[in-house]
Symmetry: C2
Subunit: 237 residues, 2 copies
DNA sequence: CGCGGTATTGAGCACCATCAAATCTGGTGG
DNA sequence: CCACCAGATTTGATGGTGCTCAATACCGCG
């Protein structure tokens, strides 16, 4: 399930600027390389960790997409999606067990590091401590944002808001922006947004008909950001 | 608006065990006392900070209750409530500006500390760094939990879930548990849960009629936790 | 080419939002 | 102490959004 290729040095990583390496001085990067396990391959559908198992590692997405999901009332609910440069497992450090199950949506690469080793590094390199706070603060802000998306709006507005946010995240680490891929199923999106899959489908059609987006299968293109924003604003609620 | 009484030493604070003081050794606590501004009084309705203003301080609720709210699409939405022992402003450290407005719901006391001073203390006392990570991790986990509450369930289930969670938080810092107070308006609860105020009212009646809770005004008593849990489980969705 | 899972589209209905009115509450001033 | 008022809460009636069930269309894969 988890094959490990030859470790690629953190100094060579494209994501280093916004990842753990940015927290410590160049000359000390070798300390990190011994702690981080890079380029773990996960095939589509394979699981990084399972809900309620002992939480030990933090994961960073290098390529690909993951989702976290949890069982509530005997039904699975998709908590979140994780794109390259994003951290999986931040919420489980304090609790001792993973709060949800992390699954690869497509073939993906992740780096991993033990919570304990990260804590030890923080003690030696204060810059890492600042980076942790910053990372967490951003994650919390994103969570609030998401909550607003989900709470406030009607179905098509929620989807529009989700697309705007997803597009922003996806285009952070790529130059050209010729649309983006939504590798997850409609059902996953529906679960994440608290809607039915059919409603997602209808909302996609609505956004498409209004000229805000175009879609072919799971590939989406934002044609008119202004129109899309109007959908986000749409009442009721 | 913000009167400051004589500082009460952090060593004497009831909440010290789960607050910032727990992050550093007893002998160094005096460093904290000079950085923390304790016992700031906020009357009901008064504002700690406003959305989009420069973010400088972290706040810790000592007594009372606060809410954070933000303007979205020209309507106010309640992000969260904050009870004694909880931190306000964690999500705004990285962004530079407060992501929402914090308002006292009843007469309350808070301590405050500058982000910068806290960062400086973290560098000197590694224990504070661990505490920060733990605090943030818990906050993130709580946010996910909340998202599930909001996303998943029908109206009465959402309210039931909210009550269970709120009761747990409120009873953390008090011995006897003879019901609890909900000092916020129904409208606030409604906004937080993404429902209409009338729906909250009806859901309260439903929970009450089933024998799960009793209520008189804003005071709520959980009569039968098992029945309440059944409401949380309730389909549809 | 045929199969299984995913996505879309359609019809009917339930839940909740909205509007409206009545009741309750707390606070103020007579 | 009581009358009064504004805001909050509850209760009622109605309509719309989105869920459910069902059928069809689409896609990837053997």
């Amino acid at each position: 399930m988890t094959k490990t290729t030859a470790n690629t040095d953190c100094t060579e990583c494209m994501l280093a600027k916004q990842c753990v390496p940015s927290g410590l001085p160049l000359k000390d990067l070798f300390h990190l390389n011994s702690a981080v396990n890079t380029n773990n391959i996960f095939e589509a559908e394979s699981v990084i960790f399972r809900q309620n198992t002992t939480a030990t590692h933090l994961y960073i997405v290098k390529t690909g997409v993951f989702k976290t999901q949890r069982i509530i009332n005997d039904t699975e609910h998709v908590d979140n999606f994780f794109l390259p440069g994003e951290f999986i497992g931040l919420d489980s450090i304090a609790g001792g067990v993973y709060a949800n199950t992390a699954v690869a949506i497509e073939r993906s690469l992740v780096c991993k590091i033990e919570y304990r080793q990260l804590a030890a590094l923080r003690k030696r390199f204060p810059g890492l401590s600042d980076l942790s706070v910053k990372t967490y603060s951003n994650a919390l802000a994103a969570a609030s944002e998401q909550q607003n998306t989900i709470t406030l709006q009607c179905a098509s507005a929620r989807l529009a808001s989700f697309l705007v946010s997803y597009n922003k995240r996806a285009s952070l680490h790529q130059q050209v922006n010729t649309g983006f891929n939504l590798p997850m199923t409609r059902q996953d999106i529906a679960s994440h947004l608290g809607l039915a899959a059919e409603t997602i489908s209808r909302s996609f059609s609505k956004l498409s008909n209004s000229g805000a987006i175009s879609k072919e299968g799971r590939r989406v293109n934002i044609l008119d950001a202004a129109i899309l924003q109007e959908h986000v604003m749409e009442p009721p609620r």
